[in-house]
Symmetry: C2
Subunit: 325 residues, 2 copies
């Protein structure tokens, strides 16, 4: 029997095998499988996460300046911290760089990381530089944990599903960068190049006790909601017309285009809120620092169903993005 | 003027530019430029470090089994923690893997990381898997810090220079793997594939107050002693014949071969000890869990000089290893 390759198995299967391979040691409050681990450091909890951007997989150098690559690398990590309600504190950086890479570009890339970290009050405390064939930026981020632990696994039937910001812009921007089309939306391109980690919203939503589950939307709403549903043992109904779409998105794609459902890279937050907390959420909208939109409801039946304004089923587009497939 | 590439500038210049680019924020006790950063977590200090092994740069897949690659990736990180006297606690792993990589090998590699972490009482709490052209393993490790901070910068003129274990074995093993020679030393090859992080020795040497400066020897004694001397503003005299060489090394290369001086990958500790602490170190040798050998002395004059048994100068071989050159 031929040996199967990583591409044949796919990413998520592999990640979960690493998880099964472990025991939860002393001090590990929440292990792998969430946006961040929760670990015990002395008398307090910290969040710990790692993420890597690889040239040719997550970005292409011709799409963005080196400084933007550095900045984005930090921001996508910070988004994982936002999804757990934390506050970024310290990061270490490991760069893999081809020998032919221009030295000035490497400097700009590093400066982009340092500036983004500073912007969110975190410190770059260590670094590592390796030669490689492929440019990649790996950042491990340590954050102060909130007093509550909110994971992907807390959603209950009847909870409402909310998302911050607007969806599909980054995927639209990425599409424009790929095709090098003339009809670019500067807004959409910027949303891809420079996501906004929803740290303020994440902290408030967790510390206030309003949310039951949360995740950041990196692989598209459908796929990331799927993670929440799987971890929580529930399903969901999503109202297609309620997905928040920006003016640029509506102008270019129309108000019904499904990119908002499955396009990735937005780094908005998706959370679930029990009925009894909805009024408090609505009353505290201004504390989030961004818009938040109710897009559906959690159901006891498994699976994610998409419905139109009249409540009729809409076919769900092929879900998610797995970059090994 | 043509733009200079990373290869032309070299690694150490770049690392130091990232350092200059930073301010030391709240909670950062020791920033970049040491084996680990020292950070404040609540009421205690932690160590934070990151290291990456890249296929074709730090290892070749034909030199070692996937499980050994995983294990070695953890061990080299743990060695950085040993050099600061810490105790490994939590790590996150970022893997870059070609799509054609066999799934079983990826599993074995992951299992190697998890097993090595467990061996040293640490937990793998998060992971990330990306497609890439090049196999690489990045691990960020968080450790409990000792009560004292010992860096590369504390050596003073008159301090004695000590190294743990034996030197040059890993470089010898690497040479054998490269040339695929028949005359292999299993000991030397194993020393390359599976370094022993000197965690017990590191903790004792720091907590006891015996050492004034410490570093782990990853790039060869000459180069890593150079880092200590530069950071401390001192020089050193090393007695060539005193460098600890294993029986396998002496049998294959002879007792005087300079590989022990500049061969890298040993992951032994190099430390400096003030005269007044030497007797206490000698008295507590058994607490280290490994041998330790006095190989020279720190001098007020800058530069590293190598002398023979008679005290006559020996020419220093070309120092160190910078994988961008």
């Amino acid at each position: 029997m031929p040996r199967r390759t990583v591409a044949e198995v796919g990413e998520f299967g592999w990640l979960s095998r690493l998880l099964h391979n472990r025991r939860k040691g002393r001090g590990t409050v929440v292990g792998p499988g969430q946006d961040c681990a929760v670990i015990r450091c002395g008398t307090r909890n910290c969040l710990f996460t790692v993420d890597t951007l690889v040239e040719g997989v997550h970005f292409r150098s011709r799409w963005m300046a080196p400084r933007q690559i550095g900045r984005r690398s930090f921001l996508v990590n910070a988004s994982d911290v936002a999804a757990m309600g934390g506050r970024p504190r310290f990061c270490v950086v490991s760069l893999e760089v081809p020998g032919r890479y221009p030295a000035d570009d490497l400097w700009a890339l590093q400066a982009g990381i340092v500036a983004a970290a500073r912007r969110y009050d975190a410190d770059v405390v260590g670094g590592n530089l390796s030669r490689s064939h492929t440019l990649s930026v790996c950042i491990a981020l340590l954050a102060d944990a909130p007093t509550r632990v909110v994971t992907r696994g807390g959603a209950r039937a009847g909870d409402h599903v909310y998302v911050t910001g607007t969806l599909g812009d980054a995927a639209l921007g990425l599409r424009m960068l790929r095709t090098r089309g003339a009809n670019r939306s500067a807004w959409a391109v910027r949303r891809f190049r420079e996501p906004t980690p929803r740290l303020r919203a994440g902290r408030f939503l967790v510390e206030s006790g309003i949310v039951s589950a949360m995740i950041d939307i990196s692989d598209g709403l459908a796929q990331d909601l799927g993670h929440v549903c799987t971890e929580s043992g529930v399903g969901a109904v999503i109202h297609a017309e309620r997905l928040p779409r920006s003016a640029a998105y509506r102008a270019l794609l129309g108000a019904r285009h499904p990119l908002a459902l499955h396009g990735g890279e937005d780094y908005e937050l998706l959370c679930t809120v029990a009925e009894r907390h909805v009024e408090r959420l609505e009353r505290n909208r201004e504390k989030l620092g961004c818009r938040i939109t109710r897009v559906g409801v959690i159901t006891a039946d498994r699976g994610i169903r998409l419905v139109d304004a009249a409540g009729n089923a809409v076919t769900l587009p092929v879900a998610g993005y797995d970059h090994f497939r």
